[in-house]
């Protein structure tokens, strides 16, 4: 982990057509911080996450990731979109884990993990394979390198997906409901890997419905609703004694 690992957002706005999904979002994530985002579906929490690595573009506002303007460069008059090459370079420093894993089905677990370093960074194959093996071992899948995604359980696939993101040596890891598509009994194994990662000092932003994980692992908890961050604070405080009525209502439903 090299340089920065911070996220700073000021006044982020985003709409899909008439529907405003993010309004005036301010967010600061320090290096090594774990930030969990909770909220009802359609509250904009996934969209916020996707904006941070450029799967969605923001309409206005300031977004600095790893200390530099993300996806755009600033001039006196405007923000200009970066070339695909530069955007890709910024993205390699941010890992993304999806709800549906999105492993490449035509590659083995090991090839999936190697794909980033070999195809994007041009790392030597032997070296990448060795690193992939280590990463798979670190998520408890050392013996599964030659399996194809279809031959792995959901929990195993998600752990491979985490290893694939880590192979790029990102400074920030984003998790978009990483356990929502899993069988209840497989949730624990993925959360354990994430907890381990947090302990090692990775900057993480996690959109989740796992309140236990949010309470135990995160440093900051955000509650979002209708495109606004309604409440934020230390997770135990927010979960135990929410101040906003909207947060209270939501937590009453899920806890």
């Amino acid at each position: 982990m090299s340089t920065d690992g911070t996220i700073h957002a000021r006044g982020i706005r985003k709409s899909f057509g008439y529907k405003t999904v993010l309004q005036n979002i301010d967010l600061d994530v320090a290096s090594g911080e774990v930030c969990c985002i909770i909220g009802p579906s359609g509250s904009g929490k996934s969209t916020l996450l996707r904006c941070i690595n450029g799967l969605e573009t923001v309409d206005s506002g300031v977004l600095k990731v790893n200390g530099e303007d993300f996806g755009y460069y600033e001039t006196d008059a405007a923000y200009h979109a970066l070339s695909p090459k530069k955007l890709a370079a910024q993205r390699t420093r941010i890992g993304m884990v999806f709800q549906q894993f999105n492993l490449f089905p035509n590659m083995t677990a090991q090839e999936n993990v190697m794909s980033g370093p070999v195809l994007v960074k041009g790392t030597d194959k032997k070296q990448a394979a060795k690193r992939a093996q280590e990463l798979l071992a670190s998520v408890g899948l050392g013996a599964f390198g030659d399996r194809y995604p279809a031959q792995l359980s959901g929990g195993q696939q998600q752990r491979v997906a985490i290893a694939r993101s880590l192979a790029m040596d990102p400074e920030i890891m984003l998790f978009d409901e990483p356990t929502s598509a899993l069988d209840p009994e497989k949730v624990g194994e993925v959360l354990a890997v994430m907890q381990d990662l947090a302990r090692k000092g990775m900057t993480m932003v996690v959109v989740t419905h796992e309140m236990g994980f949010a309470r135990e692992v995160s440093d900051t908890l955000l509650f979002m609703d209708e495109g606004v961050i309604v409440e934020r604070g230390a997770p135990r405080e927010v979960l135990a004694s929410p101040k906003e009525p909207r947060t209270q209502a939501f937590l009453k439903q899920v806890l």
Binding site: L55, A88, N102, N106, T108, L119, A150, S165
Partner: protein
């Protein structure tokens, strides 16, 4: 049934255990009727075909392996393979252009596909054959400058060239749509995963999209191939001595029209049947759920019954 294993209560009739009795399919009156009617029709046609002397089966047999016919068949096969190859390559290019985010590129491919799918291939073939009427001297070069080279279209555009160009360009439009359909079957999540790893557009295409689009593209391409084999008969209008034209050349001389058309048809039929078998294997292979796994993976998931298919 000789066994008389009694299961529970012994309500046997004629000594057969009810649990072992076969279950019979219900046959409707319509089913029996269909058998009778279809058999009669079939027998009638067969009788007529075999007794009508005008079919001249001896002539059919004589010309079936005649040199002219075989040469025509070879040319037909060449045209099919060549135009499918060129058409697929061009179609891949068009499909990539069609899904480009740059508007003029996508629109260009769209216009091409519309034009070539929207007009009959027969018209296109005649058009290319007569292109020299439109452009007698083609100059390939940069517009509005003197840089370039001149080509005498009439000497270049022979019947076979025109046939090859016409079939390939037409096929490209259809292949483009097939390939684009395959592309769009690849999940959005796959592209997002590739994006988040920082893959470039070309890399995404080669390593993520194309490998996953193949299972839906390959069977459809096989179908196109079989279709193209028969479509080549259209180029007979240009005087290309492929299978149909070879038959026509002979019956123009001997007036044995029907027997020679039967010869040509039999060859088309034989080739189509020969191609249908690998085609059905392809379809079976790619329609299976596990087909998304590449070959290597089969070793692990293989069960004995499945192994027979390979």
């Amino acid at each position: 049934m000789v066994q008389t294993i009694s299961h529970g209560s012994g309500n046997k009739i004629n000594g057969t255990d009810p649990a072992l009795k076969p279950r019979l399919r219900r046959r409707s009156v319509f089913e029996y009727l269909a058998w009778v009617v279809c058999s009669l029709i079939g027998a009638g046609i067969l009788f007529s075909v075999s007794t009508n002397p005008n079919f001249k089966w001896d002539v059919v047999a004589r010309y079936f392996t005649y040199e002219t016919i075989i040469n025509g068949l070879v040319l037909t096969i060449f045209l099919t393979v060549a135009s499918m190859f060129l058409g697929t390559l061009l179609g891949l290019g068009l499909a990539i252009m069609r899904s480009s985010r740059i508007k003029p590129v996508a629109v260009t491919a769209g216009v091409y596909i519309t034009l070539f799918r929207g007009t009959p291939v027969l018209v296109q073939l005649i058009f290319w054959f007569n292109i020299s009427a439109l452009y007698p001297d083609l100059t390939i070069g940069i517009p509005f400058t003197n840089i370039g080279m001149a080509v005498d279209v009439n000497s270049v555009m022979g019947p076979i060239t025109a046939a090859l160009i016409g079939l390939s360009l037409n096929q490209a439009a259809y292949m483009a749509e097939i390939i684009r359909g395959g592309f769009s079957a690849v999940g959005k999540g796959q592209i997002e995963a590739a994006d988040s790893l920082g893959m470039s557009g070309a890399m995404k295409m080669r390593k993520v999209i194309i490998p996953q689009a193949m299972p839906s593209i390959i069977p459809a391409t096989g179908n196109q191939f079989i279709g193209m084999f028969k479509e080549t008969s259209l180029v007979s209008v240009l005087g290309v001595a492929e299978l149909l034209q070879s038959a026509q050349l002979i019956y123009a001389r001997t007036y044995e029209t029907i027997p020679l058309l039967i010869v040509a048809s039999l060859w088309y039929l034989v080739m189509t049947l020969l191609l249908s078998y690998p085609q059905s294997l392809l379809e079976k292979k790619y329609s299976r759920a596990t087909s998304r796994l590449p070959r290597k993976a089969k070793k692990v998931v293989l069960t004995e019954q499945e192994g027979v298919a390979r």
